[in-house]
């Protein structure tokens, strides 16, 4: 029984009316008086020195207000460690910025790009992660010998988790009944591809204040980051609704820097919106992940050791790859209880479009290679994967090293119940016929099933702060730097405040996402919205309510703790008597401002399991996704429809479909991306939806007063490995990389020449 008035009940999103009537203003919909348009000239070569740039003709074009080259741009840098300049004398991928233009119109700006003459000195390029590590390989950065990025420097604190070395591998080897060694890879670098391309407006007030209107999933963190990087400048960010991000628009300096440099040069606001081709060919994609690993299992499914080299291809720069490695290493321990680890990651740069954060943040990239390796061992041991995960997924009391390098112990739930319910709903026991055995066969069509698992302990990562202001008229305003990026989180924090204050949802609102008026907010990433952001807002609302009751108590002659409030009226709990409006306490000239702060807590792992059923046409090699069942336990649902929306998000945004057809295709002769448009970059349409169902348990978790944790970020992550397992089972051949395009299937079946797969035909 739901005891709440708002929590757990479906309520319309507070921004719903504006969204369905087209009134919602995304960054690209904004314009400022006197605004110019920014354009970026991009390198046609994957690796080259810029020998000369002639901008004379471009600068002379009427309507052009500034042309910037590496010689004129400010010396701002991004990346981990700081190594990515706004423009450089060297280009490192096809699409690397070479010059910037600000013009009165977009057309003039594009024309100006064509008038810039650049002379390059081509350099040899390298694309493969292992080739980049070879002695004598082309070196992208002087400061990174061997193309290896240094380990995380103060990402997530002074000692981030940069490898997973625990226990004793030799003991693990000795204890194993089965040992399997192999290589699996998730290197198709899918693009999360939000419909809104990267967009920003930048404007300067005087010379010391930069205001940025970014399409950003974390505008307040952007302010904090830019503030640190730009030195003495005052930075203000004003976030807007984000037209999809899926993690990719969290660190937005890639497009903010050029706009800010042009705005500084011209003294006018500059708007910069990537074209779709730029978004697909020159913006961050997923990390490439290749794992050479070795795993030991006992007959009962105990994992005795895991050792391996995790080769992480970050493309032309590291946005925050070392941080993603830290989270990936942490999350591996949630999926597998194992005492002996020797997992050694290397972050390597290559001459292709850079990688950056995407939903799944390192964990999905590792899991998509690690779980298939484990399944090889499960096959040898004859273990059912659902039973294996039930035994091995982190349980309350289990510990793990998290991204900060510290040891944390789970206070969470045993998710075996959710797995069991998911398996029953999917019909796993009936459909699972064993390893590399199809579920059914009808002529050339074969069906197979697979399962994957994922979770993070980041639901309580980082700091959130919020103020909740009560006004005498019975309304509440949340001061939060939270940008809406699709999960409905801005509505959900209103629900939390409405629940605490027992006022109608219409009476709760959130401030504009302006860093000048709001306290610190890390942003809605890592599924942290419900616990971390919610935690700060809840604390602020409770603080405000306490202040209100202190003001009201004298009117009743009781202690503040004796009071309650409902619909803007305060009364003594458990007594019939007067009900007085808030204004009695605050008077018309006062407000109550509650403050809330959430401190990081890595003790509550969340959980997601995905079951998939596929049908493979062994004649054509085409794979159809027939059915998906997701299983999770969220403690308490905040908003049912927002939750199912997020769980349905497991398909696209570089999720399940990255196992089937999504990939960024690199031509390794020219270094160019061949499918930088939305016809050649494949995406799932409305006409091809699998049956979708979710099992959502609500076992109260010790998070905050609503006992909930988020799962949005992790929703896609178990998917790709589940599909890989399902397709392998359907065709009876073990597959070890993605995506499972028809050519790969036919090759595995021996119907096309090329490397055959392993296993029973």
């Amino acid at each position: 029984m739901n005891k709440y008035r708002f929590i757990g009940r479906s309520t319309p999103r507070k921004d719903a009316l504006d969204i369905v009537t087209g009134k919602t203003k995304f960054a690209g919909d904004l314009s400022l008086p006197g605004m110019l348009y920014g354009k970026v000239l991009r390198s046609p070569l994957p690796h080259a020195l810029v020998k000369s740039i002639d901008t004379t003709e471009a600068a002379r074009l009427p309507g052009v207000k500034a042309v910037l080259t590496y010689q004129e741009v400010p010396d701002w840098m991004g990346g981990v460690p700081l190594h990515v300049r706004v423009l450089d004398h060297k280009v490192r991928f096809v699409g690397d910025p070479v010059a910037l233009v600000a013009a009165e119109t977009e057309d003039i700006g594009e024309e100006a790009l064509r008038l810039i003459k650049v002379e390059y000195e081509p350099l040899p390029a390298v694309y493969d992660v292992e080739e980049a590590l070879q002695p004598g390989a082309p070196r992208l950065y002087e400061q990174f010998p061997g193309n290896v990025l240094p380990r995380g420097i103060r990402v997530f604190g002074p000692h981030p988790l940069q490898e997973l070395v625990t226990g004793d591998i030799e003991r693990g080897v000795a204890e194993a009944d089965f040992i399997v060694e192999g290589t699996c890879a998730y290197e198709n670098i899918p693009n999360p591809l939000p419909p809104e391309s990267p967009s920003v407006i930048a404007a300067w007030e005087g010379t010391d204040t930069l205001t940025v209107w970014p399409a950003s999933q974390g505008p307040h963190m952007l302010k904090v980051t830019l503030q640190r990087w730009l030195g003495s400048i005052n930075v203000r960010t004003i976030g807007s609704p984000v037209g999809g991000s899926y993690g990719s628009k969290y660190m937005t300096w890639q497009y903010v820097f050029p706009a800010a440099a042009l705005a500084q040069k011209t003294g006018r606001p500059v708007k910069l919106c990537y074209s779709r081709a730029e978004h697909l060919a020159a913006f961050t994609v997923r990390l490439g992940s290749r794992l050479h690993g070795r795993v030991g299992l006992k007959k009962d499914g105990t994992v005795t050791f895991f050792s391996g080299d995790w080769l992480v291809n970050t493309g032309a720069f590291s946005e925050i790859a070392q941080g993603m490695v830290a989270v990936g290493c942490g999350e591996a321990q949630l999926a597998i209880r194992c005492a002996n680890w020797d997992l050694r990651p290397q972050v390597v740069c290559t001459n292709r479009t850079p990688s950056g954060q995407v939903r799944g943040f390192g964990g999905q990239e590792l899991k998509c290679a690690l779980l298939p390796l484990l399944t090889m061992a499960m096959e040898k041991a004859g273990l059912d994967p659902v039973e294996f995960f039930k035994k091995n997924y982190v349980k309350p009391g289990d510990g793990y090293y998290w991204r900060d390098g510290n040891w944390w112990v789970s206070r969470g739930t045993d998710y075996a119940a959710a797995m069991e319910k998911g398996a029953a709903t999917f019909g796993w026991r009936e459909k699972w016929k064993g390893w590399l055995v199809p579920t059914s066969q009808d002529g050339e069509r074969r069906r197979g099933v697979g399962v994957g698992v994922h979770g993070n302990a980041d639901v309580g990562e980082d700091v959130s702060e919020a103020f909740v202001r009560l006004d005498p008229d019975g309304t509440a305003t949340i001061h939060s730097g939270l940008a809406e990026h699709g999960t409905g989180q801005r509505s959900n924090i209103c629900k939390m405040v409405a629940e605490i204050l027992q006022i109608p949802l219409e009476r709760v609102s959130v401030t504009a996402c302006d860093s000048r008026i709001n306290p610190f907010e890390f942003g809605p990433v890592g599924s942290r919205g419900t616990y971390a952001i919610g935690g700060a807002v809840i604390a602020a609302a409770e603080d405000a309510k306490r202040q209100l009751f202190e003001l009201m108590a004298p009117h009743f002659g009781v202690q503040p703790e004796d009071l309650a409030t409902e619909d803007g009226l305060v009364y003594v709990q458990g007594k019939t008597g007067p009900r007085l409006p808030w204004i009695k306490g605050m008077r018309y000239f006062g407000t109550c401002l509650g403050r809330g702060r959430f401190q990081p807590d890595f003790t509550l792992p969340n959980f997601m399991m995905i079951f998939t059923e596929v049908e493979v046409d062994t004649g054509t090699g085409k794979v159809d996704l027939i059915r998906v069942v997701g299983a999770t336990d969220v403690g308490q649902i905040i908003d049912p429809l927002s939750l199912t929306n997020q769980l349905n998000g497991c398909l696209g945004s570089a999720g399940i479909d990255s196992a089937l057809f999504e990939e960024t295709v690199l031509d390794t002769r020219l270094g160019r991306i061949m499918n930088a448009n939305m016809i050649d970059y494949k995406w799932r349409t409305f006409a091809e939806l699998p049956a979708m169902e979710h099992v959502i348990l609500e076992t109260p978790l010790p998070s905050h007063r609503f006992h909930a944790v988020g799962v949005g970020e992790i929703a896609p992550s178990p998917g790709p490995s589940a599909v890989l397992m399902a397709v392998s089972n359907a065709i009876g051949v073990r597959l070890t990389d993605y995506p499972l395009t028809p050519d790969k299937i036919l090759r595995a079946l021996g119907k096309l020449p090329g490397a055959p797969g392993r296993g029973k035909r």
């Binding site: 479906s10 319309p12 999103r13 921004d15 719903a16 009316l17 969204i19 369905v20 009537t21 087209g22 009134k23 919602t24 203003k25 995304f26 690209g28 919909d29 009165e104 119109t105 999360p192 591809l193 939000p194 419909p195 809104e196 391309s197 609704p241 984000v242 037209g243 999809g244 991000s245 899926y246 074209s275 779709r276 809406e484 990026h485 699709g486 999960t487 409905g488 908003d639 429809l641 927002s642 199912t644 929306n645 997020q646 349905n648 998000g649 497991c650 398909l651 696209g652 945004s653 448009n677 939305m678 016809i679 995406w683 349409t685 409305f686 006409a687 939806l689 979708m692």
Partner: protein, 173 residues
């Protein structure tokens, strides 16, 4: 000598958007409509109707879908001059302009939370509206086919299908 006045030749293009007729002078000046302007440029930049979105700008994603004479068209693939004399409806033009109430289809999207980030939503609603104009009682498969040109990356598809079918069902009652 008094210069001979030159009769300015002012080719114009006239179209009706959300019930209001607009005439634009064709040309390359800053307040004119270039013959190379797409309909979505005109809607967004000249008329301030930013509810119509540009995403792929290439006719592949459906985010810029509007109605022309009641049928769904991609406004990034049409030149404004091609739309002369046509009746265009954008997301801002749905609903009852007198009462200000939203279209039942829009209300159904609200009721089903049939969106996440909301960027593709105007295009999805316009495609669905065009379908319901022609086929007031579609099957689920017919809705899927009608929306198959609309890219939705948050995967709100399932809620969208529920919303469209509920709106269609509602219209029949």
């Amino acid at each position: 000598m008094t210069p001979t006045p030159v009769e300015p030749s002012c080719p114009t293009v006239t179209l009706t958007v959300n019930g209001t007729t607009h005439s634009f002078i064709l040309g390359e000046g800053s307040h004119e409509i270039s013959p190379s302007h797409t309909l979505v440029d005109t809607l967004r930049e000249r008329l301030g109707l930013t509810g119509t979105k540009i995403s792929c700008d290439h006719g592949a994603c459906g985010c810029c879908t509007v109605l022309m004479e009641g049928k769904a068209v991609l406004s990034c693939m049409l030149l404004t001059v091609e739309c002369a004399g046509k009746e265009i409806t954008t997301i801002e033009g749905l609903g009852d302009t007198v009462t200000g109430s939203v279209d039942p289809l829009q209300q159904s999207f609200i009721d089903h939370t049939a969106f996440q980030c909301g960027f593709c939503t105007p295009g999805v609603i316009m495609s669905a509206k065009a379908l319901l104009n022609e086929n007031p009682d579609p099957t689920r498969e017919e809705v899927q086919a009608a929306l198959s040109g609309n890219f939705c990356r948050c995967n709100s598809h399932y809620h969208v299908l529920d919303a469209v079918l509920a709106a269609a069902g509602g219209a029949n009652k």
